[in-house]
Amino acid sequence: MGTGALARPGRAKPGRIQQSEMTDRPELAQNAAGRMVPTMVNGKPQIPYLGVGQYQPRGRKAAPPVRSSRDYPENGDKRVANLETALRKCGLRDGMVISNHHHLRDGDRVALMALEAASKIGVKDLMWFPSASFPSQKGAIELMQSGVIHHIEGSMNGPLGDYCTQGKMRGMGVLRSHGGRWQAIQDGDVHIDIAVIAAPTADPFGNADGSHGKSACGSLGFALADSMYADHVIVVTDNLVPFPCIPWQIQGNNVDYVVEVDSIGDPAKIVSGTTQITRSPDRLRIAEFVARFLRETGIMRNGFSFQAGAGGIALAFVDYLRRMMKEDGVKARFVRGGSTKYLVEMLQEGLTDYILDGQTFDLDGVKSIASDPRHVATSPFTSYNYHGKGNFASMVDAVVLGATEVDVNFNGNVVTHSDGRLLHGIGGWQNCLASGCTILAVPSFRDRIPVIVDQVTTLTGPGELIDVVVTERGIAINPRRQDLLDAVKGSSLPIRPIQDIKTEVERICGGKPARPKLGDRPVAVVKWVDGTVLDTVSQVA
């Protein structure tokens, strides 16, 4: 059975949630990773994870209804007075799916604006489908309590994460990677009724972009699928320019209405002024190990590529690598962002030909993407979508990621803390595992809590895709990667078996940590990149 077929029951009544199908104790099945996962989630049948590359999708992609220029103004002016009017014109009804992107991060105002407008209209039981949620959107909790929102499918952390793991949400949370979200939309697993897209710049036709304007955020790639597959698309901007909005990443041809507002977000929280490299000597040590690992294995060579996030260790890694590249006269073909000042400087110094940017983290990144044609905005379709004819992630030579836990079989957890509370979204983490060399750069313990464990609390990434774990106490290479083990023979890097590091850390911490008591009621599922169910997040006892 394909995901295309899976989507069909939902398509008769788009986005409707069959309340009767929601039970506290859904049927569970064991998947190929040995995890027990629900066979129904929010009224839709699920396929348990089958193994990396084992699931073969069939069927055709989903598509929005055919539209006609007949129904849109010839002068291209799609403006309406406000969001409420736009939502009414889109035919907002009970049970619909409303989506938002998270490029404005914790500074976003548009998502709550849209949900509150829906509340004013008086609809109930919406499914909110953000590409990620942030602590400043905790107002969504009240809307869940009042019945406007039925449940959220998208990353949840902070107050929303707690609400979900305490079992207070009516439906089940569904956590997807950035690529997995595109896959779900494209395959019809999730059908968006109305996409509300915050746009730092837009024209009255609906062309929109993120690189200019007072609320500039860089790329708008996370909103692209929403704009292409939703039944209705509303663009909300605080910087309306006359047609044409140049450049445009969102095509007005997909847009129904344009709404002008005073402010789409708080610029101070959209991008950070400066992204900070860690100053912790222990974390700097980890970062330097990672850079040296790439140099000594020969992965750092002319024409190579890498990706690193915007966390403290990742930034420090980029700084070390950049120095080593200069010393060795090595140039990258491309680097993948999350872009920051450090990647931008590498571009300007000629250490890379291109930045392929998924999201833009700081002011230097935003300035660069707006002015340098070698700094290119990408989308989860090009970068991450597993149900496409390939994607960039598997072409990246090395990726440096974090994790909350990693186990002796190299399985990784990035979504929950070891006490079972939701902590992070998956982001691009799962998608990045496809790279040539996937490196988790983590401290071996945090506040006495070991990061290297016997078994991860929540499986987010299968160990067969995780090649190297770098800690301040040593570097563990996955035994499946004999080539990497051979490449570091004779190196002065502290290469150690992962079990060895775990034993040392358990001695330091005074024994293995107790396993927290988790409830057996599923409150969320973790999807794999192909839409199958990888693991279950249970209610915290």
């Binding site: 222990d282 006495r448 106490r473 911490c509 005074g510 107790a514």
Partner: protein, 403 residues
């Protein structure tokens, strides 16, 4: 306290730290009572994982100290077991309990005994009351770590730091680092010795030394305690000269005992004593430092420089270190792990020096083999002291992994 009776009585006491910004420490409030056993309340950052372990450790530690009846309130910020024991013991002792008993944590294997002339390029200062810095200090590869009981510890926390440092020497693996302790000025420093010597630090630093008798007193106490505890390993002494008077007595201080391994200098106090400003060039202390080098060499011990206190100025640190080496120093202190690498580079001989020294050593060995009394390299005759210096340099370079 007016009477012996109240002075000896038990009372409530606290130890340790907690709060949002505190890491790897815990706070204990202990209230002795006449009966009812131990009543323990615990709030912990790591409660779901180690809450039970902390409770059972608390019972075990207080039990071993003979504390039977008390209310104990613990706020834990992810403290490791050796810190938990130290804070509990401190609270108990402050409450007038526990007598002479100790609650010692599990012991890690000791590193190889230290030698008098081992490599001492860098010693990383760790404040004795900040447990979060201890566990990973050795990873950064200084030649030594130094657990400080003196200036970095508030006078009201000396008892707590002493117990914490004792437990640290016992329970923390510092890898190949030499384990040093800076005690307080005498006579307080003698109490420090009583607590830490049984855990065999490799080197004891004595601050503000002015007269050889001060070193002698420490030396005697260490020897007595070593005999009493059956300690075979050497425990070396490094006096710190921090005054004009101390510098004047440098040779006598260095030569007072064969257990002195090095002389070092504290420039903050020394420049204050002179009434001059401390500069990053160090002109004002040139006399003191060269005098110290000369005295140390005359006594056959190492000369070790002070610290460079601007942790952001790596260029200044490198210049200081290179200058310091050229004056005859063999190492210096560091106050941040980021300084270690720069210091090691600054104190390493250059490749040109190493190459030249290796040629001289080779010429010497060649002459020995051929039974020649005179060593020559090309057309130049090499004097014995030059050979000796070259041999030392090559040995040093080998120890640094450079030759």
């Amino acid at each position: 306290m007016s009477s012996v009776n109240t002075a000896m009585s038990e009372h409530s006491a606290e130890a340790g730290h907690w709060g949002k910004d505190i890491r790897s420490d815990l706070h204990v409030a202990l209230e002795p009572r006449d009966g009812g056993g131990l009543e323990i309340t615990l709030e912990s950052r790591v409660g779901p994982y180690y809450g039970d372990a902390i409770l059972s450790q608390t019972r075990q530690v207080l039990g071993s100290l003979g504390v039977k009846h008390a209310r104990v309130s613990i706020h834990d910020e992810g403290a490791l077991p050796f810190v938990i024991s130290a804070r509990l013991e401190t609270a108990a002792k402050r409450a007038g309990l526990g007598d002479e008993k100790k609650a010692l944590p599990d012991q890690v294997a000791l590193p190889d005994p230290s030698t008098r002339d081992r490599l001492r390029r860098s010693r990383l200062y760790l404040p004795g009351s900040e447990p979060k810095y201890f566990i990973n200090a050795g990873l950064h590869g200084p030649d030594a770590i130094i657990l400080d009981l003196e200036d970095s510890v508030h006078p009201a926390e000396k008892d707590a730091a002493r117990i914490l440092v004792r437990n640290t020497l016992r329970a923390v693996d510092f890898g190949a680092c030499e384990r040093m302790v800076r005690i307080n000025q005498l006579p307080l420093g003698l109490q420090d010795l009583a607590e830490v010597i049984p855990e065999t630090p490799d080197v004891v630093l004595i601050p503000k030394v002015e007269r050889p008798e001060q070193v002698g007193e420490v030396d005697r106490m260490i020897s007595e305690m070593k005999a009493r505890h059956g300690i075979q390993r050497p425990i070396w002494i490094m006096p710190i000269l921090e005054s004009a008077f101390g510098v004047e007595n440098a040779f006598a201080i260095a030569a007072v005992s064969p257990n002195v391994c090095a002389l070092t200098i504290g420039l903050e106090d020394y420049t204050a004593d002179l009434g001059v400003a401390k500069t990053t060039e160090g002109r004002e202390s040139l006399y003191a430092r060269t005098r110290l080098v000369n005295a140390a060499k005359a006594a056959g011990v190492q000369a070790i420089d002070s610290v460079f206190s601007d942790v952001a100025d790596m260029g200044g640190l490198r210049r200081w270190g290179e200058n310091s080496r050229s004056l005859g120093f063999e190492g210096m202190g560091c106050i941040h792990p980021g300084q270690i690498r720069v210091i090691h580079e600054a104190f390493a001989p250059s490749q040109v020096e190493i190459d030249k020294a290796q040629k001289i050593v080779a010429a010497f060995e060649d002459a020995q083999q051929r039974g020649l009394g005179v060593v020559s390299l090309g057309s130049k005759m090499i004097d014995p002291p030059v050979v000796e210096r070259a041999r030392k340099l090559v040995a040093r370079a080998k120890a640094m992994g450079k030759a």
